[in-house]
Symmetry: C2
Subunit: 419 residues, 2 copies
């Protein structure tokens, strides 16, 4: 397989045993989830890092909960535009208590309960975030709910109301219906009268999410034919987070005045590590469109990418407005996050693999204070485990790899690993 | 010039004098504006045609007013997809009194005052239209207002509220700001709080329409730089009815989450007749877009074409809903059509040239009962007039050509002319 290489080569260098004591950070250090190099699950490590200092305009947050997104998997594989240099602390969202504020920050004070959309650095015990990306929590919202809602509902809100402009009596096709964004889209669409929601999800999820969608379809059967049977004229909106093959299918399912919206490219991810083949395939199989074709067919094509909007395009005031609306909807009882599971930092690789395999229903969250799952191995039985692993299929081997990652040495002072 | 050919060659065949009496239709005939062949203004003729019969599901309308649209100019030049065979009756909208209803028509009765979006055939004393394209008028709306509002406001409404999803505090760039659709967009946007409207129009119109727009720009100066000065981050929505060069400019003026909307291709029209060169140039200079680019840039591209939507894509129920909303807004005093001028059937060529030259401010309408302008010539002084015309510039010659067209013979039984 194209994606089995990079992770394995450096295994000997990476995995070393250490004392339990070393896992706990000293008073001037904190634990953080680090990406040591782009690639497989082994590149994800728990390390001790110096405590961050709070700069001008920044807020220092004692992190109580984090959210995991498919983007984190893509970051790990290096499948994003202008990635930072490794090693760096992973994670794009967290919630917690304010422990310090930098010069110029006037509307947030120490002790405030907040959530934040961070440009990396969220998966740590402490993080310093520009105040423009920090949002006070409404009364009664716990940190886990906040971290699980923030990014997914911001994305879903913008897709449903702004880019998608979904209105009464319209039909919407949603990919990855069981994921965090899919569930958020479903809840937000319920605030619009008579929206028909078609969700695409793996068959095994259908039972768990059947109340969220008007109809569920299986991505692995010919969903295009299914949609055409239900809506011979097509659907009003297609929300596509996959790209590649599904982009063309989605566009071709649009009815007149229909809108195809691309908000993710998860089809770039195939195996555990980056596959240039799948990347290139996804890219090239999508036809370019002349605006004249859209004029002839009465169609729209949109792209939406929150990371770009927030950090490169400076739309933080707009996003803040959306967060306020979402928190209001939560207070009014219109939305409620669906949390799949919560994990310790040490178990991030296993959680990531679950997300990669689309086995989650709702949001995957992290809790820095959580005890990791019991270890399955020590250095002594490493060789035996490796043999066992070789007998397993590539897909099944991942939870074993995840426990490997838990035993990472704190090598924050060491040079980045080779992978 | 590339566009001076087709119309002139057949001049001798087309222009013949006739008696005043022949201009009036017999009881079994009606007067209609006919396109005898695709090309210049001379292909537009007033002819006597047999009265239309009302078919199943149709409504027979005694036409009291008609609207002219830029699409009529494009139809005349053959610059549209799947044009009908010539000769045919021109015109896409009219208003009048119901004179008969076909089998199966239950919600409209003889004597009703209605407006209609017709697939051609509107510019005649009588027209038979499928009931699905016929809309009852609200009390107090006169035929001229109805015919002048219908298409422009339907287009504008869909652009502003559905495809454009224009919201409070957004900025909108509108091409052809002085035209019927431009004026309708301006009025509809006033129902949304704090919309900044940038209108592009010829300098000489600026005074007349300055109250409709926040700011007016001149298409002939570098409007891109002007917009960038006013909105360094770009605008939220670009409404482009030109295509060609302006498509790229428009797209590049979008801010994050901005939407470029193509709803017309009037740049295909250069001179009086079709120019394949300008057509091809417009087509090719517009870059094709990969959805991935939109994803990277947080942009949307949309196309909207009412004719296609209504007659090929069967969205008549949707359009009826829009008409009802527009008529309600008119009743509530929120909108009021801007009529540039009203013309007799015989003066259609002159009116068309005015529209072509973008000299109108608001809607150009026709009144079948109106007396034509006094004729300037007879067969006797034809040669002299031709000489005079040769001394004029191409642009100035048009009103003369228009009066030529008034003297067309009724040759409804004759074969189509050669151009």
């Amino acid at each position: 397989m194209a994606d089995a290489g990079a992770g394995d080569k450096t295994e000997e260098v990476e995995v070393e045993q250490q004392n339990e004591e070393e896992q706990t950070a000293s008073p001037k250090e904190m634990r953080a989830v680090i990406l040591s190099g782009f690639g497989g699950l082994k590149a994800v490590k728990i390390m001790k890092k110096p405590l961050p200092t709070v700069g001008k305009g920044e807020v220092l947050i004692r992190v109580k909960a984090c959210g995991m997104n498919f983007m984190d998997v893509m970051v790990r594989q290096g499948l994003i535009d202008s990635p930072p240099k490794t090693p760096f602390i992973l994670g794009f969202e967290c919630a917690g208590e304010v422990e310090g504020v930098g010069e110029g920050v006037t509307d947030i004070k120490v002790g405030d309960r907040v959530a934040a959309l961070t440009e990396y650095k969220a998966w740590a015990e402490l993080t310093a975030v520009p105040a423009k990306y920090v949002y006070p929590l409404p009364e009664g919202m716990n940190f886990l709910d906040a971290a699980s809602m923030l990014m997914n509902y911001v994305v879903a809100y913008i897709l449903v109301f702004d880019v998608g402009n979904i209105r009464s009596n319209q039909s919407v096709l949603v990919h990855s219906a069981g994921g965090g964004v899919g569930q958020a889209i479903s809840q937000l669409c319920k605030s619009i009268q008579e929206v028909t929601l078609l969700g695409i999800a793996s068959k095994h999820k259908h039972d768990s999410i059947k109340d969220s969608f008007t109809r569920l379809l299986d991505h692995d059967v010919d969903y295009v034919q299914e949609v055409k049977k239900l809506f011979p004229d097509g659907v009003d909106v297609v929300l596509d987070c996959l790209y590649g093959d599904d982009a063309k299918k989605g566009y071709n399912l649009l009815k007149p005045l229909g809108r195809y919206i691309l908000y993710g490219t998860s089809s770039f991810v195939t195996g555990e590590t980056k596959s240039f083949f799948s990347f290139a395939k996804s890219w090239w199989q999508v036809e370019k469109v002349n605006p004249m074709k859209l004029f002839d067919e009465n169609h729209s094509i949109s792209g939406f990418q929150l990371r770009r909007l927030l950090y490169q395009q400076g739309a933080h005031e707009y996003v803040r407005g959306v967060v306020i609306k979402i928190f209001k909807m939560w207070e009014d009882g219109h939305i409620k996050p669906v949390i799949d599971s919560t994990w310790a930092f040490e178990d991030v690789p296993e959680a990531m693999q679950k997300l990669h395999d689309r086995k989650n229903i709702g949001k995957i969250t992290l809790d820095p204070s959580m005890e990791p799952k019991p270890k399955l191995q020590t250095k002594g039985n490493k060789e035996k485990d490796k043999e066992n692993k070789n007998e397993q299929s590539a897909g099944e081997g991942t939870s074993q790899e995840a426990t490997d990652a838990k035993t990472e040495e704190d090598d924050s002072a060491a040079p980045p690993s080779a992978n």
